[in-house]
Amino acid sequence: MLAAELHDKISPERPAHQRMEDVLTSHVFSLFRYLSNPALPFRLLGRAVNLAGQTLPISEARGCRLFFWQKFGLPGSRKRREIDAVLGWTAAEGRAIALGVENKDRSGASNTAADALEEETEEGTDAGPAFTGNQLADEYLGMRHGRWGNPECERLVQATTQRLLLYVTRHHELPVLEFERALGEVAARHPDMRAELERDVYWVNWQALHGLLTQEATALDVTYPVGEANLLRDVRSMLEARGLKMFQPYADLEELDELIRPEIA
């Protein structure tokens, strides 16, 4: 919530669904900032898969940095897009990884508005690729070729060897069609990037975090200082309140009085 307010994401002028989404982003991704050991949110990232079913490289993750709501442009374009978060860390074998994060709750990917100065899509130039109008495609291009407004974020992204994109939604399974649309948009303009995009774009759902927090529930007080344990319990409650629980039908039905069965003589 703090990050959302600090980035002016909860002003009443913004549509309610966007405020809800940004507050959710703030609640969940702030865990990388506020937990003394970010192992748990990294485990969430470890549940993410790409179209080939491969998982995100998080083994031995250390040195995490986080930037919320970063704007980027593409070379040769005057437009800008904003991505919900950029995470950077060092993984096994010293690989520096940058991960752009696009979060959705009730709404699907926004395929309209880069902060458009002109029309929605544009032609690439010799200087580099152009925005496609497809949010996931544009954010992937941003991670690969973007120019970031925040110099610190720019340095982080430029210093990495792997630049990936994560799509976080309430789907139960990887939303193949949305990925295919993004792939199509990029491949139509840059056929050479198709394989990379298939490999470098990942998806996870919010429910996976609820699953992790449920697994950890009894160990929270042992593993974390009291304040952090309370924070994690509250995040779990928040996910439940938003209906972002793992699919466990009938598990939460309450007992009623036992049925009165007829006596058998």
């Binding site: 139960h172 399974e173 209906g243 699919f247 466990q248 039908p249 009938y250 039905l253 009623l256 009085d257």
Partner: protein, 216 residues
Amino acid sequence: MTEREKIERTLRNMHRLCQHWAETLSIIEERMKNAHFAMKGETYARVEPSGSFDKPEAWVPRSLARFYRRADDSTKGVGVCLHFGPYSPSQVEALDQLKVTLPAASVSLVEVTTAAAFKGQRKLHKMLSEAGWWNVTGQRIVRDVLVESNVKTIPGQALTYFVDLFSLRTLAGIAQLVVDPMVKMYDGEREHVAEARLQVFRLREEEAVAEDRTGE
């Protein structure tokens, strides 16, 4: 437990059941979209809550259905219906005769002569809720787990199987018992559910099956 507590718990349970069933349909829908099917209508599903106080039996949703095709001009479609009850005694009897117990899900392949027959979402959902067991003619059991029928709500033929709703507790269960067979039925493997020996309702007594085999 006091009466007040019973009512509170019952309504909370009802609310949770609706959430579980809605989520079950959402999971089915996501998989069908991933298999390049288009659903009929947005997230509308046919429910029949009635506001009428002389029809309180219709206040509680009895079923939810969804219909899918890959192309608008296709004369075949597939669909799923979640049957919760409370159905009328004669409807329960009709399901009993097929050895189907509630709550259940039915999955149907429906074929019509012209694609125009598939217009009208309410009709489609009613047809899906009835296919194989109610308001049908020409009912014939196929390989113990499928039932052919002529549906009346729209003029067409249906091939239907039933599965226990309690088998649909996991994403894998929903995929294996509903989505994958439904896609295969649409793609021409009409009797996949029998060939794969999936854990669905057997539509007649074991003894009857044994008699048939003896007869062969």
